[in-house]
């Protein structure tokens, strides 16, 4: 069974600085993989290289066996790869509903059908379902900018899910979210995962969140992969502890 995501010897340098130094790993279908590591370990750079935001200096990325290194983010998204953002990235002037329709509309039909067809691109029901799933029903017509931080995080995740992606990369989904909302977010992610059998890769700082959500964890430090295993094992791994304490 081919891995959903396969990263081979990925390397990224900026001038003289090596941000990612020959990282290789696989993500199996249906798993929730966590990537942790101290600040500056290269997690975000790795993500951005996988997602086409940056061009890797060396190495390959494959999605479902297909080479996607350096592909534009929009093309990658149409292959079924979605992401959420660390810094909030909803569209504040559009309503919650419109944000969701936008998130799915590019996967419906063609440019022409989007011009001459329905104004919601036929996504009215799907958006409604997503709103209910994330329990945002009373906010559906509010401009997204008026939602609380935690609610926007939920919307961000909802938008990533709208197109029914195979693979979702979540960039620090727990960042800045209060405890109650955090539990709600994790619970919704787990529910979506169980329902759709989607594959997740999560970068996170918050240990509790990662341990509770992920089935397998990779640890990055100084651009290199230093450990891999279940959350339980990682917690006890001396190299990992060293990497965190050493900072």
């Amino acid at each position: 069974m081919t891995a959903v995501l396969e990263v081979s010897n990925l390397r990224k340098t900026f001038g003289g600085i090596v941000a990612v130094d020959g990282v290789s790993f696989e993500v199996r279908s249906g798993e929730i993989l966590g990537i942790i590591g101290p600040n500056g370990s290269g997690k975000s750079t790795l993500f951005n290289c996988v997602l086409g935001q940056l061009r890797p200096s060396a190495g390959d990325v494959r999605v479902d066996g297909r080479l996607t290194t350096g592909m534009r983010p929009c093309d990658l998204n149409r292959l079924g790869v979605s992401r959420t953002f660390q810094l909030l990235q909803v569209f504040p002037q559009l309503s919650v509903r419109d944000n969701l329709v936008l998130a799915g509309q590019e996967h419906q039909g063609s440019m022409a059908s989007r011009l001459f067809g329905l104004s919601d691109a036929g996504l009215g029901d799907a958006a409604e379902q997503m709103i209910e799933f994330f329990r945002l029903s009373n906010l559906a017509d509010e401009p997204a900018g008026s939602l609380s931080y935690g609610q926007q995080k939920l919307l961000d995740a909802a938008m990533a899910f709208m197109a029914g992606p195979r693979l979702v990369l979540l960039d620090e989904p727990a960042g800045g979210v209060n405890l109650t909302m955090l539990g709600h977010l994790r619970e919704r992610l787990q529910a979506y995962h169980a329902e759709r059998k989607a594959t997740f890769v999560v970068i996170e700082h918050q240990m509790e969140f990662v341990m509770a959500l992920c089935s397998r964890v990779l640890v990055l430090a100084e651009g290199r992969l230093i450990a891999e295993g279940t959350p339980h094992d990682i917690r006890r791994n001396p190299t990992v502890i060293e990497a965190y304490l050493g900072h």
Partner: protein, 327 residues
């Protein structure tokens, strides 16, 4: 749109229909110019206000449209065929110009369109066998529709107004379709939009090509309106003028072009005392506006109405406002 907004549009439309009956021929010429320039401004607003690209070639596209009609109609081509041809030609040229320029960042389109405008001017001026060079083309005939001739000033005004209304409705439709949503996304957060599968390059190119074709359609009406066209009318000055129009009216606002074009057409008249100085006043106005209110005149109106709204809410108490905002 709000009830208040719809009322204003209805009133404005009524005024536009009634106006020619109260104006002398020169006044009718002015409002006809307003309708024609608004069409070009709507196009530029798409490019600048919705797709965030600077085009300095809108004047050149008006010129291409004008010359297309001025050359085809005397040769026997029916006006509306030439009209459509002008639109398609400018769409194609816009696409061809934009495709390489938009692959790069850094507002390269601004430079390419600047170069293009100068090139178009040189061609129009030099290729006398085709365009009659600096001597220009006179007497472009005004069209006849089902037996109704539009050669009279008032009749031609109504033709222009009709075209403006049709194109406005078409633009309204487009901006409320998924394309419109895509344009908002493009403008607000292109990185996020890309990650959702939105091909920002394609949409930007489309906005620019459509915007350019509207310039061509505007030119197609301009030729029979002014009855004398020559290369200098379509040089960089017109492109600047259209740009300033869109900015002052309110870039990215649906009604911005209408307001901006109105100001631009009337300003030289108001400043008749300070004849040549209106460009200076205009450019200073733009700089001041960019510093304090980049959203233009309509942005100021919006800010003012929000202030009034806020004050009203504070006075009457928020208890009266239940539920969400109505749009």
């Amino acid at each position: 749109m709000t009830r208040a907004g719809l009322t204003i549009v209805a009133v404005a439309l009524a005024a536009a229909v009634a106006a020619p009956f109260f104006l002398k021929p020169f006044g009718i010429f002015l409002i006809s110019t307003w309708t024609v320039l608004t069409i070009a401004a709507i196009g530029l607003n798409l490019t600048l206000g919705y797709a965030g690209q600077i085009s300095l070639a809108q004047g050149a596209f008006v010129g291409i449209g004008a010359y297309t009609v001025a050359l085809l109609t005397p040769a026997g081509v029916p006006f509306f065929a030439a009209f459509i041809a002008a639109g398609f030609l400018c769409f194609a040229i816009g696409w061809a110009l934009g495709y390489p320029a938009l692959r790069v960042q850094h507002h390269y389109l601004a430079f390419v369109t600047l170069a293009f405008t100068t090139l178009v001017f040189l061609v129009l001026r030099n290729e006398q066998w085709l365009t009659n060079g600096i001597y220009g083309i006179t007497g472009t005939p005004r069209p006849t529709l089902f037996g109704w001739t539009s050669s009279g000033a008032r009749d031609f005004y109504f033709l222009c107004l009709g075209v403006l209304v049709v194109l406005s409705l078409a633009t309204w439709w487009m901006l409320h379709s998924p394309w419109g949503r895509a344009f908002v996304a493009l403008r607000e957060n292109p990185v996020r939009a890309q990650s959702l599968g939105l091909d920002t390059r394609r949409y930007t190119l489309m906005a620019f090509a459509i915007g350019s074709s509207l310039g061509g359609l505007s030119g197609a009406l301009y030729a029979p309106l002014v009855q004398f066209i020559e290369p200098n009318s379509f040089a960089l000055g017109l492109s600047f003028n259209l740009l300033l129009m869109v900015i002052v009216g309110g870039s990215g606002n649906f009604f911005g072009p209408y307001v901006g074009a109105l100001i631009s057409v009337l300003l030289p008249e108001w400043l008749r005392v300070a004849q040549g100085y209106y460009l200076i006043v205009y450019s200073v106005a733009v700089m001041v506006m960019m510093a304090f209110c980049p959203a233009g005149v309509l942005g100021l109106v919006e800010r003012a109405s929000r202030l009034v709204d806020g004050r009203r809410k504070a006075i009457s108490g928020t208890a009266l406002h239940t539920g969400g905002t109505s749009k």
